[in-house]
């Protein structure tokens, strides 16, 4: 019998006579059976097998090499005098000319390229749906905005200066901390946010005649630089072209830290566990099989090939002189190169390669250097103003430390972004442009920008909630959720349920029950009865688990599943309840059938539950896991986290 050695099975040859288990037979720890005893660290970070661990080790060696690189290259960094937009990078790219030409081309084409984002029919449909939603909501929002304008003079009165000065900024910061202490019910009235929706920040579609691309750009790119960066930009604008050279330490000088391409872990596991013929059947896109541009990246992401997409961003960034080992060396940013970096880091976070992401994010700091603003490149971008850094990039970098358990750093950065959002909103309310400069915005453009920035501010609040839940600061999480719920009445059923879940995580069953009860009270008229009913059933089920009544929880989940048969989370939860009621076989059957019938359920979290059940059911579960691996191989890209299959990978 091929019992694995871990659990410490004793053959018990002595028969019925009872040996002292502590003495002659050292009892192996149950912990070793279950894995490491840490209760609350990330599941997937622990599940990564030895294979990925070795790649992490490799990455850290790469890091060492990279640390050594700048010191040798230090002497070469002095830029030869020249116009600021042509900081030369002589030694790296042999194809400098080509790169620069390519950049120019890219920048010129940027406007035209951007709106074309539809890839597959599925995503086009998605865009259509979202656009329809926005169109549907816009009139209401405009009405609400107009209704709230009478309150704006009051806000304007507190900021009488035409330019945002230092006092202004500190005042904003104070407001943030106030909002922090109390979930100020005044908040919703401060901003025209009554019907704010998070889906509002879609680009103006070409059908919208009122918004020119330039206005949309300005709205989305707006950012308020720090005083120091503003000073660099000002002195650059006031000096003769070609006579201004910022110091190197006021520039952002990124570089990739991965020397070699990421490989497909699914294929590696297939090679190990399956016959070569079977393994050869895996066919997924790689960086070589798509066009070497943004479109290729989107294709790879669409196919779930996140690792290949990372590899492709690496190649494209090498063209910009920001490839492997280039951190700390001069290169030039374009809107496209910054987007490439955002994509790369977002993918690394998706892949849970947090250490790599953090290393590569280091060069970006708080995304506030002068060379990340369009004004820094007057020749390339004309009069375009604002930051080349997409807003999502700011949020991503702010959230990054929390994945490495540096929660406080994340919170500080998120509140910093939040305060700039508030500053921009108050600028708009006061009739100035987003960055505080005088402007002659049309009312429609101003309202649209207000909606956009308010939705961004709320997104940051969501990130704050996520961070607080991660750091188990449940009080603050509940406070932020209550604030969001007050500002987004349309989503309040979902948000109040989230408050209940936070209480449940903490263990406060009574408070969770009260929060779940408030969902019913809050049920707004517009809420579709169907989804609300489902939400309530799920809430009741979670509460039953809190009371250790898994039979009741199961029946509630099952009723919810009848209402939403496609809800895979509820399906999984039914399986979990079955296990706690001693019905392992039924739990396995339920999950297994679902996974094999619906390939879209071949997701890490679902499979992790299934493989946990497999391991409990029999010690000879590898056959079943390999069957799952085969399905994954057919259906999933290289972004799949194979750790969830709990298959030992070759060291």
């Amino acid at each position: 019998m091929a019992e694995q050695p871990g659990p410490g099975q004793q053959p018990g040859p002595e028969g019925p006579q009872q040996p002292e288990p502590g003495a002659e037979q050292p009892a192996p720890s149950l912990r070793s059976y279950f894995g490491s005893p840490k209760a609350d660290d990330d599941v997937f970070s622990r599940l990564t097998g030895p294979g990925s661990r070795s790649s992490a080790m490799m990455a850290s060696q790469v890091n060492l090499a990279q640390v050594a690189a700048p010191s040798t290259a230090g002497g070469v960094q002095v830029a030869p005098p020249g116009p600021p937009q042509l900081i030369q990078v002589p030694e790296i790219a042999p194809n400098v000319e080509e790169t620069i030409a390519h950049e120019m081309q890219e920048a010129l084409e940027y406007e035209e390229r951007r709106p074309r984002f539809s890839i597959g029919p599925e995503s086009a449909e998605e865009v259509e749906r979202e656009v329809a939603e926005v169109l549907h909501q816009l009139p209401a929002t405009a009405g609400e905005g107009a209704a709230s304008t009478p309150e704006t003079p009051e806000t304007a009165a507190t900021h009488p200066q035409p330019d945002p000065d230092f006092d202004d900024v500190t005042q904003q910061v104070e407001e943030v901390s106030l909002a922090d202490e109390a979930p100020a019910p005044v908040e919703p009235t401060r901003y025209p946010s009554g019907t704010a929706s998070l889906e509002m920040d879609l680009p103006a579609t070409p059908d919208d005649p009122s918004m020119s691309p330039a206005i949309t750009d300005r709205q989305h790119d707006a950012w308020i630089p720090s005083e120091r960066t503003q000073a660099v930009l000002d002195s650059m604008a006031h000096s003769l072209p070609g006579t201004f050279y910022p110091s190197v330490d006021s520039l952002t000088l990124p570089g990739c830290s991965l020397q070699t391409d990421l490989t497909d872990p699914v294929l590696e596991l297939m090679v190990q566990y399956m016959t070569p013929t079977e393994a050869r059947q895996r066919s997924v896109l790689t960086a070589d099989s798509v066009t070497q541009d943004d479109r290729g990246i989107r294709q790879l992401i669409q196919a779930g090939c996140y690792r290949s997409a990372v590899n492709l961003t690496g190649r494209l960034l090498t063209n910009y002189g920001q490839g492997y080992g280039r951190a700390g060396q001069l290169s030039k940013h374009t809107a496209n190169s910054v987007q490439l970096w955002f994509t790369r880091l977002a993918l690394l976070v998706r892949l849970r390669q947090f250490a790599v992401a953090e290393r590569e994010a280091q060069a970006w700091g708080d995304l506030d250097t002068a060379d990340l603003f369009f004004q820094y490149y007057p020749d390339l971008y004309g009069g375009r103003r604002g930051s080349m850094v997409p807003f999502s990039f700011r949020v991503l970098l702010a959230e990054l430390p929390r994945y490495m358990a540096h929660y406080q750093t994340s919170l500080d950065r998120l509140y910093q972004i939040h305060s700039v959002c508030q500053q921009i909103i108050s600028n708009l309310v006061a009739g100035r442009s987003e960055d505080g400069s005088p402007s002659d915005l049309s009312e429609a453009a101003r309202q649209q920008s207000l909606t956009l920035w308010n939705s961004r501010r709320l997104k940051v609040l969501f990130s704050v909630v996520n961070c607080c839940v991660g750091m188990k600061d449940y009080d603050q999480a509940i406070e932020c959720l209550s604030q969001l719920s007050a500002e987004l009445p349309r989503l309040s059923a979902g948000l109040r349920s989230a408050v209940g879940r936070v209480y449940l995580q903490l263990g406060n069953v009574a408070a969770a029950r009260a929060a779940f009860a408030s969902v019913t009270e809050a049920a707004p008229a517009g809420e579709s009865g169907h989804s609300l009913q489902c939400q309530q059933l799920i809430n009741a089920a979670l509460l039953a688990i809190g009371e250790n009544d898994f039979a009741d929880a199961q029946s509630q989940f099952e009723r919810a599943l009848e209402l939403e048969p496609q809800n895979a989370a509820v399906l999984t939860n039914v399986a979990v309840c079955l296990l706690y009621r001693g019905r392992l076989a039924a739990a396995v059957t339920l999950l297994e059938e679902a996974v094999f019938a619906r390939p879209e359920l071949l997701q890490e979290t679902v499979l992790l539950n299934l493989c946990t059940l497999y391991e409990l059911q029999t010690s000879k579960c590898n056959r079943k896991k390999v069957a799952l691996l085969a399905r994954v191989g057919q259906n999933r890209g290289d972004g799949f986290n194979v750790g969830c299959l709990k298959l030992q990978s070759a060291a």
Partner: protein, 415 residues
């Protein structure tokens, strides 16, 4: 006897802590950005369709590690016995589970008669849940024993041992104070010594039969608890709970002597919860007080105002109780060591004779001379027969406040 390779039955064990709510990290992306909608379009069961930016989803994840187990929690375990042979049934199969601690050996009774022999067909499983409230700290060993007979009639037996450590979740420190008038105050400091936050559900005092307990941890404001509504107690954080124990009214006069000897004050009952309502419960042993040492004569206060105005003169009542077995002839002297409260009345007056076990009331009058919390001190009783003094220097405390504004308002109105 037999070799483990020959077993056709395998046993798997999993500790069932509560499942966790699990979600993947949120990576949001504007449709204007390079990835477009491709990143957000990827299916993710842990994401809520209405709230894509919220990480805290609704999907449950099974426990992935043994975790930590604490005293007072319930140890739940799933035992799965599986016949992995291709054609041979295991007959007369029994499963026994036993928990061994440093001091004792407990037989855990699994659900639904696991000890009843049954036959296990090939590829079939038998599942059992066991539950046990952990009442000891330190090393525990779960012993699972499987007995069965092969089709050839050979008796087979194997055991599995699982060792785990039970840790202390809370640190409880108590202090008991004997107040005057037979009241006893309990101060309990409860510290969370686990590495994560817990939710204190209830902390109650089960008093001994002679006392009533009053919970002093509620406030009229807010949600009723002085600790706030969320119940949250972070790692290493502690809380001070206060209780007041009063003798049951019917016992108070009748058996003063009996009360004096009572040292068992009651037990603290503490329940807490962690992830998704995982519950733990602890009860302290009997809390012991030092027996009060008031000797032959007791002076207790019947009623005294807790707040008086400055310069106000007030009267309160004391009760003198002869706890000795002889008659005492007493005299009362009043001294004023502190200037906060000044006695009014005659010092040195005789109180007359007090028979054994009898008590008498004495009215006393004070004038408040200083603001703040002032002690009532300086009462001296003299037993004339033995010329033995009894000093009472901390009878009670009175808060002297500035005259209430209501009194001053008419004045301003008059002006």
């Amino acid at each position: 006897m037999d070799n483990k390779e020959e077993h056709i039955v395998a046993l798997k064990v999993m500790r069932l802590t509560r499942p966790t709510l699990y979600s993947n990290p949120v990576v949001s992306c504007d449709p204007r950005d390079l990835p477009g909608t491709t990143l957000s379009a990827a299916p993710d069961v842990t994401r809520l369709p209405h709230l894509p930016h919220l990480q805290l989803g609704e999907m449950l994840l099974l426990p992935q590690s043994f975790g930590s187990i604490y005293l007072g929690e319930t140890f739940s375990c799933y035992l799965s016995v599986h016949n992995h042979s291709t054609g041979a049934a295991a007959c007369e199969l029994t499963v026994r589970a036993e928990l061994q601690t440093g001091s004792q050996r407990l037989t855990l009774t699994p659900t639904a008669g696991a000890d009843r022999p049954a036959s296990l067909a090939p590829a079939a499983s038998r599942d059992h849940l066991i539950q046990h409230e952990v009442k000891d700290t330190g090393a525990h060993i779960l012993v699972c024993a499987i007995n069965y007979t092969t089709e050839a009639g050979v008796n087979m037996f194997f055991r599995k041992f699982f060792k785990f450590e039970v840790l202390k979740p809370l640190d409880v420190k108590t202090k008991l104070y004997n107040g005057e008038s037979d009241e006893v105050c309990l101060e309990a400091q409860i510290q969370n010594v686990t590495p994560s936050a817990i939710c204190m559900e209830t902390v109650t005092l089960e008093p001994s039969p002679l006392f009533d307990a009053v919970d002093l941890n509620t406030s009229a404001e807010g949600d009723g608890s002085v600790f706030g509504a969320s119940g949250w107690l972070g790692p290493q954080d502690s809380r001070q709970y206060l209780f007041c124990l009063r003798p049951r009214p019917e016992l108070r006069l009748a058996s003063a002597k009996q009360l004096k000897g009572v040292t068992n004050m009651g037990k603290l009952d503490i329940t807490w919860r962690t992830n998704l309502g995982e519950r733990g419960r602890l009860q302290t042993s009997q809390l012991q007080r030092m027996a009060p040492t008031y000797g032959d004569l007791r002076l207790t206060i019947e009623d005294i105002p807790s707040v008086v105005a400055l310069d106000q003169t007030f009267t309160f009542t004391c009760r003198v109780h002869n706890a000795s077995d002889r008659t005492l002839a007493l005299a009362l002297r009043l001294e004023t060591p502190s200037a906060g409260l000044v006695w009014r009345g005659v010092s040195g007056r005789p109180l007359g004779r007090l028979a054994a076990g009898a008590s008498a009331t004495v009215p006393l009058t004070l004038t408040a001379r200083r603001l703040g919390l002032q002690p009532v001190t300086g009462v001296r009783l003299l037993d004339a027969a033995l010329n033995r003094p009894y000093d009472y220097d901390n009878l009670a405390q009175v808060f002297v406040a500035a005259p209430a504004p209501a009194e001053r308002q008419p004045e301003t109105a008059a002006c």
